[in-house]
Symmetry: D3
Subunit: 174 residues, 6 copies
């Protein structure tokens, strides 16, 4: 089969404009892209506020709003396993056959390389702006500048979900 596919693992807490750049960059180089939504079981913490389903929804909206061809993208939540050495195989179980992995994360790169995959390292898209940790901090504080850092349609989903309130609650002291 001639289709060339790549996986892009991430936690997407939340999906921001850097991620969108990354998807577009990958789609220029590959036929199909598999977005692996990692730590799928996590949610409702300051580090991982969104459920896997909420992340699926917001990423799908972003792709549609940007006019990205949905037939070329897979969106697949994958829960953690507690065994790094078997993690690539775990991902292989959940997703269609793929040929390259796309990541800047050191552990992810080591694991895919040791499993025999080619790893593409994308450029850092305005890395200083698009940092999920900072975006989560802004959301928790109710600082509306977070909306400029995520795709417009993601912002809409996160407002429907009322993520600001969830994070504000979680931040509260006992």
């Amino acid at each position: 089969m001639g289709v060339k596919r790549g996986v892009i693992p991430g936690r997407y807490q939340p999906f921001h404009k850097g991620h969108l750049h990354l998807i577009k960059w990958a789609l220029e180089r590959l036929d199909e892209v598999i977005i692996v939504i990692g730590s799928a079981q996590e949610s409702h913490t300051l580090q991982n506020p969104l459920t896997a389903g909420e992340r699926v929804l917001s990423i799908k909206r972003a792709l549609e709003c940007e006019g990205i061809d949905l037939s070329k993208v897979y969106l697949i939540p994958v829960p953690d396993i507690l065994m790094n050495r078997a993690w690539v195989s775990h991902v292989e179980t959940y997703v269609p056959k793929f040929h390259v992995a796309i990541s800047r994360n050191p552990l992810v790169k080591v694991l895919f390389r040791e499993a025999g995959y080619e790893v593409l390292e994308p450029p850092a898209f305005e890395r200083n702006s698009y940092v999920a940790t900072n975006i989560r901090a802004l959301i928790a504080k109710g600082d509306k500048r977070w909306k400029e850092l995520v795709p417009k349609c993601v912002a809409e989903v996160l407002e429907e979900i009322n993520l600001e309130e969830r994070m504000r609650e979680l931040l509260r002291r006992d």
Copy 2:
């Protein structure tokens, strides 16, 4: 938010024409449909021959070939948990918010109803023909009639994967 969504849980081992009827039937009644690929962790047994990723691929192909609008369908693998009472909540973690569940499976119906969901019971689409157990038996035997029971594009994917050989091997005696 006005979008009305429904979940359709199944193992899709493999995705057959009865499943396709079901998706179409659901899309006539709902805005969006979430196909929950259950027992995602299972594969390489006679009962569950395909990986979750292979099931994702074959279902996506079927939807495309049938001209179904991909923006209205979510394809989400969900691993088993060993606690029926918490299973609906487990599904809720992995998928976008939904309003109805679509199933003929007794356990699935009981669990969604006890969790407060409306359950739509679809008609049995030529139930005698489209039975996954029988289709798997045909594949394992190499009886090519299985190809008439699954959507054409699913048949192509299962041939690329060479499912016949995998099942024939698994059937072999030690």
Copy 3:
């Protein structure tokens, strides 16, 4: 500490009159009794229809109705682990220190003995009547004779829960 305690492991699906005899028999021989509600994670199957919480509720009611001193009884749900050799230690984690185990189940007896516990084997209280498998079959069929086989207050709880309907639904063919 001088208190002598014993564990009585069971699935209690449901708690029947034979179980009640057993508890009373044990309370005549020990200061305190720990009812271990095993396979706590299971529910909503024909084999294990009740949740752990429903079993806790029905057993507690039975003890109250029978005038058993609640200060002498512990009711503790314990989920399965998939490692028989470590199961006794797993139980020890969940329950107060105990000195004997009370059971007629071969596996349970072997495991507690190998772990160094004294095992008391109770008589079989009208064993032919009080068989959980049969009682479940009667409930699933709606045969009201099941009510004579469980303590009156358990029957009331199971009717509040509407266990008959749950089991009838689970029994239905897809």
Copy 4:
């Protein structure tokens, strides 16, 4: 059924006078109270020194000593699951049906509210005194003032268990 029940989740490492106030406060407002002993699988660390069974024992003793009606209280150990979104459902599996949740913990409040429960927020009972972290620190140091911070009968159980020695050992450097 007219009985109104509430759950009170906590780790109870150890059960202190603030917890006792809380139980009494809840029993004034509800018919029955379910004490959920969370992180049941944890023990033998400085953060979680007691097993679930030791916590069950010490709480039961405290209730008896205080003359609290045991028929109105359920004491149920619940192990962690690693999926916040499904945690309420997990608790629902282990405990009888309940109607309100009682907690000051931000995560617990968010999760029960999102699951549709009413959440009662109790007052902070001399919060500065009754802090489990501080009590554990005192025990580990062998500073006997910890005995004034827990109910008298809990102190007796913790001395029988010799928790001071266990914590002193755990504190030791390799």
Copy 5:
């Protein structure tokens, strides 16, 4: 590194003369052999009576008695994971790097081949005699002929453990 290693997965319940033939056959073809003791978490059932540790002990004794060079053999218990597709990777985590897999089991062969390994299929060593299922049945019945079917030093270990009594107990009716 020039050392050529092969894995030999099995449950070894118990290790019999057919297994011993297999190890010798493998050592004639490879530099080092890794005996993977599968389903390591299982024990105390009629199907899996021995713990992993008891299997380690009896296999080690058999190798010593047979004068097999221990420096060429690894004995490694591996627990099950519930994901066939990732099982080879799971094994790779637990054992030193290897180059071939040795098995007659259909599933094992499929999984190692799909993971890119060469699979050596050994001859069936007097397959009708050396069948673990039959040997377990003889042990459970106390039929001493089982001792002729396992290496002499394994028989000694199984007698020290008193496996006959354990199995007889497990066979008993409740």
Copy 6:
């Protein structure tokens, strides 16, 4: 059976000269020694860089190079369970029957003592030099002095594996 065995639990990340002293010290006091390679599921982190299989390989090489009689040593990887109270039983499942535990680790000592085992506390062999944390730091920095701190044959295995590069990669910033 007269053989006296002891377990020596550790993570062996990596196996260093202090560990080798410890094994020799234990073999002077016991007939057989079981090296329990803990946290077997962990690898590819700065804290736990090696897989269980890589640790098995390097320890086996060290024993051979030192002329230690392999028939007196068991090398058994054991994954973590998340329940301290049942951990000793978990170890007992994986290893042959043993009589003493050898450790300086406070948690390990408490758990074995509470389970009724004699605990031997070995001397600290040049503890300031042989500290796994420091050795890992040297490896990650490519500071060759690490080779003096591990047995020569372990150094060879870690170079074959190219652990320096793996750790350097993991250390890199995203």
